[in-house]
């Protein structure tokens, strides 16, 4: 089971957990990415996420399919937020349910690593004295 979404409103851990519930699942691993107050020593005030939404959903779906193919997992949930986010807010939730925990850990880490490489979503960091698009420049 793969569930993918991109949302403008706050992401819910409880909603993701409910999507993963399954009698065949014994180990569930969540990755929750939140807005941190610092990047390389600069004070972050907020973030803005922009997505090429149609393509981002397709790339997220590909990650879910690859995870189900490569690891012995039952369920895969991936939700990404877009818009303006303040400190401590959740930008991304990935939840993987498996019979056994090892596969769930591996698939969840694979998914967040992949997302950061392939999914067309862009993060702009705002500091007290400016802003920049993350990773845009070498």
């Amino acid at each position: 089971m793969i569930h993918i979404s991109i949302k403008e409103e706050a992401l819910s851990l409880a909603e993701c957990q409910a999507l993963i519930e399954d009698e065949a699942v014994g180990g569930i691993v969540h990755f929750v990415g939140t807005v941190r107050n610092q990047t390389k020593g600069n004070q972050v005030t907020k973030l803005e996420f922009e997505a090429y939404e149609k393509m981002a959903l397709l790339e997220m779906e590909k990650i879910g399919k690859a995870a189900l193919q490569q690891f012995d997992i039952e369920r895969f949930v991936l939700q990404h937020r877009i818009g303006t986010l303040y400190l401590k807010e959740i930008a991304v939730i990935i939840v993987v349910g498996a019979k056994h925990r090892k596969a769930a850990f591996q698939a969840c880490e694979f998914a967040i690593d992949s997302l950061k490489k392939t999914v067309p979503i862009w993060k702009k960091e705002f500091f007290i004295d400016g802003s920049h698009w993350v990773s845009a420049h070498p």
Binding site: V92, L115, K116, V119, I121
Partner: protein
């Protein structure tokens, strides 16, 4: 032929717009499109890189564009 190029993130800032209309020759490749963009907007050369997506898929340099394609500039992604 006339194409429209979608831009996101820093690419949108470089172009100053979300949708760039371009007149290019038939069978323009992804590589040629990238070269045209760098020529007209030198800021693209300063990026860590950028890709071109056609119809919601990343495409290699040798992929040939058609007028009906949905073409997008994908600067380095930074989701998560």
């Amino acid at each position: 032929m006339n194409i429209q190029v979608l831009a996101f993130g820093i690419a949108k800032d470089i172009l100053g717009q979300q949708l760039l209309p371009l007149e290019v020759s038939e069978n323009t490749s992804v590589l040629l499109l990238k070269e045209l963009l760098v020529r007209d907007y030198p800021e693209f050369a300063k990026l860590a890189g950028f890709s071109i997506a056609v119809n919601n898929e990343y495409r290699q340099d040798d992929y040939l564009l058609s007028e009906a394609d949905e073409i997008a500039i994908i600067p380095p992604v930074s989701g998560g």
